[in-house]
Amino acid sequence: MAAGPMKMRATLGQGFTDVRVLMNHPMETGQRKDSDGKLVPMHFIQNLTVKVNGKLVVDAQISQAVSRNPVFSFRLKGGAKGDKIEVAWMDNKGESNSTEMALA
């Protein structure tokens, strides 16, 4: 199930913007065994970025410790109506996905 859906919500506050993003990913630790007793290979999101109007504001390195179908939320300084927010991830297999929205 590579690059399933992503869902983002961003709300404008007084001088800040709250971004919450939900993403579909198996986040395999490499420790789990399948029904045949074989190890399920590691498969997890390594890198997560948030951009506001093309400018990088969050660049996160994450690991297997994060759960399946993770949710992330960030509070960004500032923000104005119409600002474009982009969230993207890349996993250890080189798969990636992204979503974007304009602040309303």
């Binding site: 399933g4 859906p5 579909n24 198996p26 949710v71």
Partner: protein, 263 residues
């Protein structure tokens, strides 16, 4: 005197910690609900709803869930109900199955091959249920209760709820018959009374955190029968539909707030 005082103190701390645990579980549930992966299943379900499939290579967009072909708004809140075209009562999943066979031309065998998924591979039925149910959010649950077949189905469901079966002589009411019962930390709702049934009607189908999967009411019935050690019921059988109908009708009037979250 001193012993009595000690005993009272122990009873008191026992009650307090059970209450704290309940509060903590509620806090955990609220946190999960904030960013529920159920939404991902809704998105996946939308894709599947619009995807042409089966020998006829058509999508489910013309599927009539009771409000007319392709009408999704409020459709889930009015289910289960009687469908004239098949002359029987159907719940959401049974109706979806009907559309898969009639509209898409799939065989019953093909369409029910994998109705219950797992974390690695969710089933088509689960994602579709999430998508359809979500279109009734904020609406009052009002399953069909007036047609003679609907009345019959609810009565069958009520009878089945209390009917003891299987090697362990269990009925639904064995676990879901008294207030305040639980299995481990999971409270068991009393589903033949409106209060317990409303919370159930308002939140199923749901994302189940402990298995990272999306679960439906047909799955819940199936798994309860497994726990009661009966033979496995057929998917969409009269039995499972009647039980779902009885529980939903008992919980009628609840505002639908799903797809929800289960532990």
């Amino acid at each position: 005197m001193r012993a009595a005082f000690l005993a009272a103190a122990i009873v008191f701390t026992g009650a307090a910690s059970a209450q704290d645990a309940g509060k903590e579980i509620q806090r955990y549930r609220d946190m999960v609900a904030e960013g529920s992966p159920a939404e991902l299943f809704e998105l996946e379900g939308e894709t599947l709803w619009n995807k042409p499939q089966g020998p006829k290579n058509v999508s489910l967009e013309r599927c009539d869930l009771g409000k007319g072909p392709g009408v999704l708004k409020g459709a889930y809140a009015a289910l289960p109900r009687y469908f004239k075209d098949v002359d029987r009562v159907m719940d959401l999943e049974t109706r979806l199955l009907h559309c898969m066979t009639v509209l898409q031309g799939r065989t019953l065998e093909d369409a029910t091959k994998r109705v219950f998924g797992n974390a690695d591979q969710p089933s088509e039925m689960e994602s579709l249920s999430a998508y359809v149910a979500a279109q009734s959010r904020g609406m009052k649950m009002a399953p069909g209760v007036s047609h003679p077949k609907e009345k019959q189905s609810i009565e069958l469901g009520r009878a089945l709820y209390f009917h003891r079966v299987g090697a362990w002589d269990f009925s639904c009411a064995t676990c879901h018959g008294d207030e305040g019962k639980r299995i481990r930390m999971q409270e068991l709702p009393v589903l033949y009374k409106p209060q317990g049934a409303r919370a159930t009607a308002a939140s199923w189908p749901a994302y189940r955190v402990s298995t990272s999967s999306f679960v439906t009411l047909q799955w819940r019935m199936n798994d309860c029968f497994r726990q009661m050690r009966t033979p496995e019921p057929n998917f969409g059988s009269e039995t499972t539909v009647a039980l779902i109908h009885f529980i939903t009708a008992t919980g009628a009037g609840a505002t639908y707030n799903g797809p929800g979250n289960k532990r």
